[in-house]
């Protein structure tokens, strides 16, 4: 294509004929013949690189599209040659070489190098001729890529374009064609074109539904779903899409029905289509049952989906081959069949909700290697760590304080018997000593790292002028995440202009309100983790920030006050802490879920958490009592304790509150009553200090303690006391 080549005589008729023959053989699937033609063509014409490319393409098809790696190499070489030759004609080559670029994009797409594929596709898009099959192919590729990278708005824009073009195209095709082609040709073209448009229409609807689903605009989705069902009838893709739609609307039974009606047994299988429909089927059933709150079924289905996926991968030989062979030996389309990371993500979330945080942690750690720019996933990892480090979670989840929570151990027997009281804070504080926090174990230190990542991945809040205080500390962290996400292909949809949606692959992007909820949750977890790590300043900082969030749910507001107060206590700012512990601060304990969510049956709020305003207030009063104790205001503390105890079911009184009762009795000198409280593991009516008789006389060291009677009624205490 250099200057002189233009002057060289044009392409000879012989060459043209050979080129046509080669193409015809290729379309007929006779790749050997096509290759033969191409080879002799190459002897005549050494200039045209397209001969070499078509040769590579024919070879590729000859192997059943299984030599993706090789084709990629050849295309790369060709591209480098072409570029060195035509660089001086500033970019004019792009149209000439569009097929070369397109093929490269296709390969990137199948190798999941989505951002590379997108950048090529977008370049091609600038030179597209309308109403051409090739133009459509490029557009559809781009749409697919946008959807894969969760950029539904871009996809939708392109789809409306495509739609408009196909409508315009069909009308224009009708009148204008007669000018330059014979009537016969035009008729054939017209028929072909009409068929193409029909096929395209169905695909456009299909893609539109996917885009609307990602944008969570169910109204628009409903319209498109109708068109899909009208055009593409009862194909598996349509039924899955409709099921997805019903799932999002909360019609779970309908969703299951639709999935069941798709005949997955007849699906050609992953080797042909590159998609393992059976695996998708089980996965989606898992999603539905998760949403219904049937977590055990959910986990069952996800495990099944994972098995199916492993089976598919084994069938494809994926994973067993080394890295070098990774892209050869299996058809190119099957390169996309592996859905392991999506499945692991789902599995992890399900395990977390079922109360198996360590298993969940393992799944999510694997998933985060691919989806590392998903802030919600980082939060989930932190939640796993928190759940895994929550002491005696079984009892807590049942809402029953265990004796174990109060007494650490009993030492000695007889008159040497001693009770060692348990310190809740040491139960709560878990340092994993001697381990680097960067090594992923489900520790609180690792939770802190996860939460920092999560916060950094969220866009800055507009209302927050003050920059986050953890900025300097975690800048190195942010650097690595940032650069990492750029390399990532699964997450290239990051950083949209406008930032209306925050990408959260493999889930649909997050809307603004979801982002704000997420931020609140991250801040609450951050404060909690900082407290557990003894980082009180940080805890206070996070709790304050949490309390300043504009749309804070009642329950997180409550937690924000609790955490702030505890941090302030540790910072020796008792009065500030007491201000946070005003029970009036709790007005509701909803989790800030959209009303539609709450209506759905089967959704339950997590246990181990105050479910009513009064129990939340009681918790606050218990803590207020502790705060008063520190100021030696024991009477106030006692009042708080008893007021709070009257607000909750006696069985639900937390161990900390019972210990507070013990503490108050000990301060009061009522050792025996304190012991009674411990033994019965419940709060007991206190005795006025004045009535307390002298239990211990003088110093006799051997005096056995007062006999402890098995108590039947509270009134018997006074007797014990008086004895």
């Amino acid at each position: 294509m250099k200057h002189d080549s233009a002057d060289s005589p044009g392409v000879s008729d012989q060459e043209k004929e050979m080129a046509t023959n080669a193409f015809e053989a290729f379309t007929a699937g006779n790749y050997d013949e096509s290759l033969k033609q191409l080879e002799s063509l190459q002897e005549l014409n050494k200039e045209d690189y397209k001969i070499a490319m078509n040769k590579a393409v024919a070879e590729f098809y000859k192997t059943g599209q299984a030599t993706t790696g090789t084709l990629k190499q050849i295309l790369m070489t060709i591209k480098n040659q072409v570029h060195s030759a035509v660089e001086d004609i500033d970019g004019l080559d792009d149209v000439e070489n569009s097929i070369l670029y397109y093929n490269q994009a296709i390969i990137h797409y199948h190798m999941r190098q989505y951002s590379e594929a997108i950048s090529i596709g977008e370049k091609l898009y600038q030179f597209l001729e309308p109403f051409e099959k090739f133009a459509q192919a490029v557009c559809f590729l781009l749409v697919d890529l946008y959807l894969l990278t969760f950029q539904p708005e871009k996809a939708l824009h392109l789809l409306t374009m495509l739609e408009k073009l196909s409508v315009q195209g069909s009308s224009k095709n009708g009148k204008g064609d007669g000018n330059n082609s014979t009537a016969k040709e035009s008729a054939a073209q017209k028929a072909e074109f009409a068929a193409m448009i029909e096929a395209a229409k169905s695909r456009i609807h299909h893609y539109k539904v996917r885009a609307y689903i990602q944008m969570k605009s169910l109204k628009a989705c409903k319209r498109e779903i109708k068109s899909v069902m009208n055009t593409a009838g009862n194909s598996a893709p349509s039924l899955f899409l409709k099921s997805n739609f019903e799932y999002l609307r909360g019609n779970y039974r309908k969703a299951v029905k639709l999935l069941n009606s798709s005949n997955i047994a007849e699906h050609p299988g992953p080797l042909k289509t590159g998609e393992c429909v059976r695996c998708m089927f089980w996965n989606n059933l898992g999603c539905i049952h998760f949403a219904m709150g049937k977590h055990n079924l959910g986990i069952f289905y996800f495990k099944k989906a994972l098995q199916e996926n492993d089976h598919t991968c084994a069938q494809l030989g994926d994973g067993k081959n080394g890295q070098a062979k990774k892209f050869t030996g299996i058809p190119m389309c099957a390169l996309l069949a592996n859905k392991r990371y999506e499945l692991l993500y789902n599995c992890g979330i399900q395990l977390l909700h079922i109360g198996r945080p360590l298993a969940a942690f393992e799944c999510l750690m694997e998933a985060v290697q691919v989806y590392h720019s998903n802030p919600r996933l980082w939060l989930r990892l932190a939640e796993c760590c928190i759940a895994a480090n929550k002491g005696s979670s079984e009892q807590e989840t049942k809402g029953l304080p265990s004796k174990k929570g109060i007494v650490q151990s009993i030492v000695g027997q007889g008159y040497h018997r001693k009770i060692v009281l348990a310190s809740q804070s040491t139960q709560n504080t878990t340092y994993s000593e001697g381990q680097s926090a960067a090594i992923p174990v489900a520790s609180m230190e690792f939770a802190a790292i996860c939460l920092r990542n999560a916060l950094l991945l969220l866009p800055e809040h507009q209302q927050h002028e003050s920059k986050p205080d953890n900025g300097s500390k975690s800048s190195s962290q942010s650097g690595s995440t940032e650069s990492g996400s750029e390399n990532s292909d699964a997450c290239s949809g990051k950083g949209q202009e406008g930032d209306k949606f925050i990408p959260a692959a493999p889930s649909s992007p997050l809307r603004k309100q979801e982002v704000e909820n997420l931020r609140c949750c991250i801040l609450a977890c951050s404060a909690y983790v900082a407290l557990a790590l003894g980082d009180n300043l940080m805890a206070l900082n996070h709790a304050d920030k949490l309390l300043h969030q504009p749309k804070l749910s009642g329950s997180l507001k409550f937690l924000g006050h609790l955490y702030a107060a505890e941090a302030l206590i540790s910072l020796d700012r008792i009065s500030d802490a007491i201000a946070h512990l005003n029970p009036e601060n709790v007005t509701d304990v909803s989790l800030g879920v959209s009303p539609s969510e709450q209506d759905q049956a089967g959704k339950q709020t997590p246990l181990c958490y105050p479910s009513t305003v009064s129990s939340a207030r009681a918790m606050m009063l218990f803590n207020l009592g502790s705060a008063y104790c520190l100021r030696s205001e024991y009477e106030k503390a006692r009042k708080c304790l008893h007021q709070a105890a009257s607000m909750v079911n006696p069985k639900e009184i937390p161990p900390e509150a019972i210990l507070l009762g013990v503490y108050l009795e000990l301060q009061n000198g009522n050792t025996q009553l304190a012991l009674q409280i411990i033994k019965r593991n419940q709060l007991l009516p206190s005795v006025k200090p004045s009535s307390s008789p002298d239990l211990r006389k003088k110093p006799p060291p051997f005096q056995p303690g007062q006999p402890v009677q098995p108590i039947k009624m509270p009134s018997s205490f006074t007797q014990v006391q008086r004895k």
């Binding site: 199948h110 909690y528 003088k698």
Partner: protein
């Protein structure tokens, strides 16, 4: 803070009942033989714990030994600097001695006997050397009724209060977490030192021994609930994509014209074309309607073409009307610098096709702002004349608007 079992047995040996026959001096020597300065605090903590648990340290001579050692360890430093000075102050507190039966707080030190108190008071003052020549057993049997009862410890108390005020409130509010709970049913079989020693061992040795833990009002800290959100799980949809590697049909089909046209176009971006070149270009474009997409025009290059070859630009734009990029071309056209050529192009376009109204509005406002800035009167007039030629209503409006304030 824990003691190794070996260290503990050494310590227990020194404060054992049997050792109470030795003089304080020899006890002190034995102690320093076993423990270096670094261990003193840990040993002292164990001693305090034993003093707090009378069942483990039952006899008065043993308590005397323990008190003596607590004092002895830090005797070279001022009394208030002794970390266990609070123990002394508490035991000697006159108010406690007055109504000691009032409030026996658990975990606090049980009151001590008069000889013990006397001994301790002696330690607080400058103790006579002979005192240490005695044995704990002797001291415990001393008749101290004649000795002065109280020693003034207010200075010590003051110093302690000052030191404590620097401690966090939470630390000050702590009790030891060890609570005596003697079993009333057990027979009072007397003290068995081997049993006691076993218990002591389990209290002070090993990782996180009970000795270390403390008991204070604690906060309930519920863990945050799991984030609740809709649509988090990844739903998988089959979509049967049809993206395939394609054969390049342009292989060996392009003839010279394509390249020639591109060369002409490349020139057209830089300078006006000659008449034959222009004819050739327009002719080829007319012949092959798809050629226009291959000539190398991009929206970015449009302004150059408009300035140098407005006629070519018009023809090409008209052919590009159905292109997906046409809006890009329009927006470039609207935003390019105002000139006769660009106006000419827009003018021709408006007469040939229906332009989007927002495009025309944008263009007009652009024209006006440019017109106002033009200094050259001649230029202004010609611009306005050109606009005066317009026939469409929009352009008339434009003319009126322009004429009245400017040239009128």
């Amino acid at each position: 803070m824990t003691l190794a079992p070996k260290e503990l047995s050494n310590l227990l040996g020194i404060i054992s009942e049997d050792a109470c026959g030795n003089t304080f001096e020899s006890l002190s020597n034995a102690f320093h033989h076993c423990f270096g300065k670094a261990e003193h605090f840990r040993v002292g903590s164990v001693l305090v714990m034993l003093l707090q648990q009378p069942d483990l340290l039952p006899s008065s001579p043993q308590r005397l030994t323990a008190l003596y050692l607590l004092w002895e360890m830090y005797r070279t430093e001022p009394l208030a600097a002794n970390p266990f000075a609070a123990v002394f102050a508490h035991l000697l507190n006159p108010s406690a001695s007055g109504e000691e039966q009032e409030k026996p707080l658990s975990g606090f030190l049980p009151p001590i006997t008069h000889p013990e108190k006397f001994f301790l008071s002696q330690l607080m003052l400058a103790p006579p050397r002979e005192l240490f020549k005695k044995t704990p057993r002797q001291v415990s049997c001393m008749d101290v009724s004649s000795a002065p009862q109280a020693v003034d410890i207010s200075g010590l108390q003051l110093a302690l209060a000052e030191r404590q005020s620097e401690l966090p409130t939470q630390s000050k509010a702590s009790f030891p977490s060890l609570l005596s709970d003697p079993d009333p049913d057990s027979s009072n079989s007397g003290f068995d030192s081997s049993v006691a020693n076993q218990i002591i061992e389990s209290l002070v040795t090993g990782p996180r021994p009970p000795l270390e833990s403390h008991f204070r009002p604690e906060f309930i800290r519920p863990a945050p609930p799991l984030l609740v959100c809709e649509d988090e799980l990844a739903w998988l949809n089959p979509c049967e994509p049809e993206h395939r590697v394609q054969w390049d049909r342009s292989m060996c089909v392009h003839n010279g014209t394509g390249v020639e046209i591109k060369r002409i176009m490349a020139k057209a971006f830089k300078s006006p074309l000659s008449a034959p070149q222009q004819t050739q270009l327009l002719g080829e474009l007319e012949k092959d309607p798809k050629l226009v997409y291959h000539v190398g025009l991009t929206p970015a290059k449009l302004p150059d073409l408009v300035e140098n070859n407005p006629l070519v630009a018009i023809e090409i734009l008209l052919k590009l009307m159905s292109s997906s990029q046409i809006t890009e071309y329009f927006s470039v056209l609207v935003n390019m610098d105002m000139s006769l050529h660009s106006m000419e192009v827009v003018n021709r376009l408006t007469t040939a096709v229906d332009l989007p109204p927002e495009f025309i509005h944008l263009y007009i406002s652009n024209c006006i702002s440019t017109c106002e800035q033009i200094k050259d009167k001649y230029m202004q007039v010609s611009v306005c004349n050109l606009s005066a030629d317009k026939k469409s209503g929009v352009w008339c409006w434009y003319r009126l608007y322009l004429r009245n304030p400017r040239i009128g």
